[in-house]
Symmetry: C2
Subunit: 312 residues, 2 copies
């Protein structure tokens, strides 16, 4: 089930590892594949447990681990609560196996002892930061207060951006034997792109199209997801007209259209878009540093364009 749940994704994190590694002259296909696979499996572990925490039984319309184990139990005649319990239990266990698998894959990469220790540090730090981000996300979602934009950005960075961008890019650089200044620069680049990416996600969750995102654009509003849009809107005079619809489980298409219009008129949409531009700009600035070679710059700058294109 884990294999099925980790199949067919965008392989986004391995791509980060490969991009940095290739651009920095790495040529050990087996080693870089191992590091890439470790980050992919970490991603699987984190989304499987995230779904447990959110009590979700599907992801992008397809049954996830919990959903699959729930469904076979339901078919076998179990009651819904018992079947859901089976699903959630299987997902706790599956996430544990994926998490262990991620460390395990990294330990099996053939490289120098110093490089391996450094890679394990990066993975470990990514897990630690992601765990913190996940916990903050839980806390923010339970709090009656609307968080500030900075709280949202910190949470999104910790929960997703570090393990998806910063850490895999750094791991690729470390494996390629890059000097410390380059590893730092690549990490800083990843941090900025990662934050831009998360804010784009917030924008697409409300203003995207179902065709492009693969998920309903009512979801974020209906579940009252804490996003940069909401955090900014809450500081404006129009919040009174938005707030009643945030977290409204049966939000209609017309109500959603109203909320979108208000998020535009109050300036939340353009604020979020300017945040994306700002972090994208900072990412590109990092690439202008003296430690960044032309090859590395040429390899990384398209990532910024890719992120920006998602909202344009």
């Amino acid at each position: 089930m884990l294999e099925r749940n980790s199949a067919g994704g965008k392989r986004f994190r391995p791509r980060m590892v490969f991009t940095a590694y290739d651009a920095l002259g790495g040529d050990d296909d087996d080693a870089v594949a191992g590091v890439g696979a470790a980050f992919e499996l970490l991603h699987t572990a984190l989304i499987v447990h995230d779904d447990v925490i959110d009590r979700d039984f599907s992801r992008r319309g397809i049954p996830n681990v919990s959903g699959s184990y729930r469904d076979t139990a339901t078919t076998a005649g179990l009651s819904t609560p018992a079947a859901e319990h089976r699903g959630m239990s299987a997902a706790v266990i599956a996430g544990d196996l994926a998490l262990t698998g991620a460390s395990r894959l990294l330990m099996q990469v053939r490289c120098g002892g110093g490089v391996q220790a450094r890679l394990l540090d990066i993975l470990d730090e990514a897990i630690f930061v992601s765990a913190g981000g996940e916990m903050v996300d839980v806390e923010l979602s339970l709090s009656p207060e609307v968080p500030t934009v900075d709280e949202i950005l910190d949470m999104e960075r910790a929960k997703t951006a570090v393990y998806s961008f910063e850490a895999p890019l750094q791991a690729g650089a470390v494996l390629a034997g890059a000097p410390e200044a380059v590893v730092q620069a690549v990490g800083e680049f990843g941090r900025e792109v990662g934050v831009a990416y998360q804010v784009v996600d917030d924008l697409l969750g409300v203003f995207g199209t179902e065709e492009s995102t693969g998920k309903t654009t009512l979801g974020d509003l209906r579940e009252g997801k804490r996003t940069v849009l909401i955090a900014h809107a809450a500081t404006t005079d129009e919040w009174f007209a938005i707030q009643p619809f945030i977290g409204k489980a049966d939000l209609s298409v017309d109500e959603a259209a109203h909320v979108r219009a208000r998020l535009e008129s109050c300036g939340a949409r353009s604020f979020a878009e300017s945040l994306v531009e700002q972090h994208a700009r900072r990412a590109l600035d990092v690439l202008d540093g003296p430690e960044v070679t032309d090859t590395l710059r040429a390899a990384l700058s398209p990532l910024v364009a890719t992120v920006l294109e998602r909202v344009r």
Copy 2:
């Protein structure tokens, strides 16, 4: 919270590591402490996630991770469902950190590369087997059928005995540089003692005293826990008089006394006791093998006595 939840236990798994290591001539205090701590933290990770799966908010009468996070949320004014959700979420995350921490501790042990690879294999295998045992436990608890004694023994061995006995004893032997035959013998010994220990747990869960076990002796019966006692009783003519009370959430003290009497008269108690004796005997037989030195035998045989004393 993790620190609090891993404090004050019996340090049972580190003791297994130390016992084998010391008896086999190991003298690196730092290294053996690291290996022992890794198994203790693995234990913490597994019970924290086991409590998530069982939706338990306390362990031995004290709030566990979920319970602690639930309680501070309740105090802060959250509704019970929201507070419980916060508790469970924190426990999923805390277990992930403990699991990662276990591998991490083992990686930081200073020992030869070959020894370390072997230690990591042992830990990895223990996690994998425990995950399987946990899943089988979930399946057995949801099935309307009463499992067979062998199914129970296999589940208990996988869920608990491997990571509590077999793996830490083997890890101690490997760290001490013991020959492969000794590592195998120590593992086999651990497997037998571990199974004996689990069957003792089943016995104490029904026939123990609250003073000695620290938990109510109604719990196993009320939750309908699948144990060797139940599996054996289900094969006897007296099952019709026992079954109605197994899993009865409001089982009274008198009804429990009736069930205990029936578990004795049907032979389930003596069957379980003979199983304990049989596995304890097999454990001692392993110690009579030619590869087991006098020192090792002298160090390990008291473990068997300790297990047996718990039910005598």
